[in-house]
Amino acid sequence: MALPPNPNRHRNDLGGVILGALAIVLGSAALGIAVNHFSPHRLPIMQQAEGGRLPLPAGLTEISLAQAKAAFDAKKTPFLDARGSERFAAGHIPGAHDLPAAEFEKRFLDLAETLEGAPSVIVYCESTDCGEAVELSARLKEAYQGQILVFADGVKGWTAAGYPVTKGEMP
């Protein structure tokens, strides 16, 4: 005897597709967590490394707020602001150069002369959880021979410490 058509078939089909997608997402995520657990380059899952800071790639050196302030007072090390021109204009470390990571190719030549004689530069973005400073550092490594120092606390840490900031675009 032929069975009558199941009126819920189409709904079940759609449910099957959605359930399948959920299974793929959850299964893959579980696989990723398991692989990460046994990986030699394991990342902490629910928190960022080193007290909330993003891990720095090899070849970059992080400096503290006090070290950044000392370099600022000595006026020998150029500061590079990686955040982008709009936020640079809204407030940056005095004397810093506006060099957005995304516009590196276009803007680096303007600063090449300034950086040429400097044995090191300090790169910063907004705060410990921003990525632009590391992006800029990665690009800088290909064009700049000196030491690249990442000031991870960024403008947020600088401002919180009561240090001065300047508004406006780079002259």
């Binding site: 759609l14 997608a21 793929i24």
Partner: protein, 160 residues
């Protein structure tokens, strides 16, 4: 949709091309991300959409979702579900990029795909992801498979 366009989109060769390109792209980019999750975490953090505590979790899991869904799509196992998962990811990527542009963030996309334009969130990025999203939707509505089975039900049949 015009019948001729619908007919062309529903043809198995169209589906096979979409599946292979889309799946291949995701397998390739996911592999690059899998090799350096810490680097991916920095890109994700640059978007400033996730709480910092969740950035690493996203960097650990996202490439595996891309890789598995891409591989399933290429092989043709659960193609509709894999296409739905990838369409969801592409929708999230486009929304995140749009929000980054609106907020004036000058960041790189973190796409890990050097063969299709720059890494910047520019017009090429949005066109590229929109094309990939269209492919995912094609694979979702008219899933095809080299294999014959699996819950490869299409949304077309599901909607009657």
């Amino acid at each position: 949709m015009r019948p001729r366009v619908a007919h062309w989109l529903s043809r198995p060769p169209t589906g096979a091309v979409c599946r292979l390109i889309l799946g291949g792209v995701f397998i390739y980019t996911a592999t690059a991300k899998l090799l350096d999750p810490a680097d991916l975490a920095r890109y994700i953090s640059g978007y400033r959409l996730l709480h910092p505590d969740l950035v690493n979790l996203a960097a650990i899991t996202l490439p595996w979702i891309e890789f598995v869904a891409g591989a399933l799509l290429v092989v043709g196992i659960w193609p509709a579900s894999a296409a739905l998962a990838l369409a969801g990811l592409l929708g999230i990527f486009l929304a995140a990029a749009f929000l980054a542009v609106v907020r004036g963030l000058e960041i790189e996309c973190g796409c890990f795909f050097p063969f299709m334009g720059s890494e910047r969130l520019d017009t090429a990025f949005f066109v590229r992801d929109a094309v990939l999203l269209a492919m995912a939707l094609q694979a979702l509505v008219w899933p095809s498979s080299f294999l014959r089975r699996g819950p490869s039900t299409s949304l077309r049949s599901a909607s009657g």
